[in-house]
């Protein structure tokens, strides 16, 4: 058995134990995504293979693993963002509330309306703070009560007090951490059900990172959050469930990402089932 190690601090491990007891048992969880044998290839190079897991409503689910393990590729399958890359092919199935996300008549625009995304690097539009948040509602035709909608989104993203007096100022004038919270507000403004976060804090300083993590904790009540992170403490702090991805090498040395283990975060960090997970979370690998 592996106990809390240098990677996961002692207090975190106590929280983990508490948190596991709070986790509802499987039969009470609502499945949002049911992923079955998912694979992604770029121009014939298999980037990810054989991933099967379930994502539950109002949970924070973290994907961790070494660089190149396909976790970012995986998260982009949920909102059809891989479709923008020429040569990308997605195999297997993802059911979203039982409906095939890659079915023949699925409109990516409808998918992205319900499944929002926050990117690694803050990427506000070169427009005013207000116009950034209002962009989603505008393109989706949700323009009734736009001002209230923008205010609500900024409040949910814990940014309202900092920007309420300068909504017309350029979004690029904000600090990096504020920009990332603006991107979260922009995503919340269209009231998605799921928020995908691709390493949302990796470009931020520790204080801004803490704010984003606190925010994830608060948002969990209303949203389902899937987060990719490089930072294992972050996964330990924010995630209810954690999936560990790794890399296998094929006969000719090609690297393919696979899902190694998926369990309650406390299990992954204290009693991992797989040796590879143990090596990774204890810092011996990756």
């Amino acid at each position: 058995m592996v106990t809390a190690t240098s990677v996961t601090m002692a207090d975190v491990s106590i929280n983990l134990a508490e948190r596991e007891q709070q986790l509802p048992p499987k039969e009470f969880r609502e499945v949002v995504f049911d992923v079955n044998d998912l694979g992604v290839s770029y121009n014939g190079n298999q980037a990810l293979q054989g991933v099967s897991l379930e994502i539950y409503r109002n949970f924070v689910t973290a994907f961790i693993g070494p660089s190149g393990c396909g976790k970012s590729t995986f998260i982009r399958c949920f909102n059809h963002l891989n479709a923008l890359i020429p040569g990308a092919v997605v195999e297997g199935t993802i059911l979203y509330h039982g409906e095939d996300l890659y079915g023949a008549h699925v409109d990516p625009v409808e998918v992205r309306k319900r499944i929002g995304m926050v990117f690694q690097k803050p990427n506000p539009f070169p427009k005013s703070i207000y116009d950034n948040v209002a962009f989603g509602p505008r393109v989706l035709g949700m323009t009734d009560g736009l001002d209230e909608r923008v205010e609500r989104a900024l409040e949910q993203a814990a940014l309202w007090d900092e920007v309420k007096d300068r909504l017309k100022a350029s979004a690029l004038s904000l600090s990096g951490g504020q920009q990332q919270r603006l991107c979260i507000a922009r995503c919340l403004a269209v009231e998605p059900e799921v928020i995908l976060m691709d390493e949302p804090a990796s470009a931020l300083d520790p204080i801004a990172t803490t704010r984003i993590e606190d925010l994830m904790h608060d948002l969990k009540r209303d949203y389902t959050i899937v987060v990719v992170t490089h930072n294992m403490q972050q996964a330990a702090r924010v995630a209810d469930l954690t999936a560990f991805f790794s890399i296998t090498r094929g006969a000719e040395g090609q690297r393919t990402g696979i899902l190694v283990e998926y369990d309650a975060t406390s299990k992954i960090f204290t009693q991992p089932f797989d040796k590879r997970t143990e090596d990774y979370v204890t810092g011996r690998f990756g």
Partner: protein, 291 residues
């Protein structure tokens, strides 16, 4: 361990000399370029400034240099400029959007199109003039009218506008497109609401520079029949002259007074072009973005 004094001195002057020589060459190039341009402008201004007056701006040309003006030519140049912008900007930006946002690079016809545009930008303007004469003036029977001149200038500067617009569109980072897509925007909305507004300063700068190039052209206009002596104000479907053509005509006259008049015309043309260029630079600096 101690470092003996003198270690930090350079071993010899060689490295330094080659650096200085290169620096000298750079200065020399700069001086040649600037002094030639400066001498030209100075000479023209000294020669022609006295005749830049209301007569030049508001009178038709005449065989008598003292009362000869360039109003029809100045007006025609303005008309040409307006038509040129109306034609080139939608066509050029449309082509650029297609090539950058929609075209599949793996298709042979898209690659052919790209190579073609690059090459068209390098075709001498006189060739465009011949094309205009054969195709517009005679072929479709448009005649020697201002519209034909504007159309041929459009063809001339279109590749430049396309290239500038493509650069501007390419400079918009992909993260902006992805963010817009992730919010449920359609391709049209991404291009129209995010990419184009972000690329507008670059497109405007490129278009204005192309415009000023087009307005300075003489050769293609001569071929499509810009007349050297037009004493009436131009209409779009009428015969016309243009400022560079008018200057060309005056320079060719034997009388010394017309040469002075030509210098005055050059000052007016330079003023128009430099104003346009200055506006383009201002636009670029005002709206320049760092991502």
């Amino acid at each position: 361990m101690s470092v003996s004094a003198g270690r930090l001195r350079s071993d010899g002057p060689r490295g330094r000399w080659s650096g200085r020589a290169f620096y000298g060459f750079l200065l020399f190039s700069l001086v040649i370029g600037f002094s030639t341009l400066g001498a030209l402008v100075l000479q023209v201004v000294l020669k022609g400034y006295k005749w830049v007056d209301l007569v030049l701006l508001f009178e038709p040309p005449s065989a008598e240099p003292l009362i000869a003006g360039a109003e029809p030519a100045i007006l025609a140049t303005i008309y040409l400029g307006v038509l040129l912008l109306l034609f080139t900007v939608p066509l050029g930006v449309g082509t650029a959007i297609y090539l950058e946002e929609y075209a599949d690079r793996d298709r042979w016809y898209n690659r052919l199109l790209e190579v073609n545009i690059q090459n068209l930008a390098a075709v001498p303007s006189i060739v465009y003039g011949i094309l205009g004469l054969a195709f517009l003036v005679r072929g479709i029977g448009l005649g020697r009218v201002l519209l034909a001149g504007a159309m041929i200038l459009t063809l001339l500067v279109l590749p430049t506008v396309i290239i500038a617009a493509r650069e501007a569109i390419r400079a918009v980072p992909d993260s902006i497109r992805q963010a817009a897509y992730a919010l449920g925007a359609t391709k049209w909305q991404v291009v129209w609401r995010q990419v184009l507004p972000a690329a507008t300063p670059g497109i405007a700068t490129g278009s204005i520079l192309a415009l000023s190039r087009g307005l300075g052209e003489t050769a293609p206009l001569l071929l499509v029949g810009a007349l050297t002596y037009v004493s009436f104000n131009p209409t779009i479907l009428g015969e016309f002259t243009a400022l560079p053509v008018q200057i060309y005509q005056w320079v060719a006259r034997p009388q010394e007074e017309f040469r002075v008049l030509a210098a005055s015309g050059i000052i007016v043309l330079l003023a128009i072009l430099l104003t346009l260029n200055a506006f383009a630079i201002w636009l670029r600096n005002r709206y320049e973005r760092r991502w």
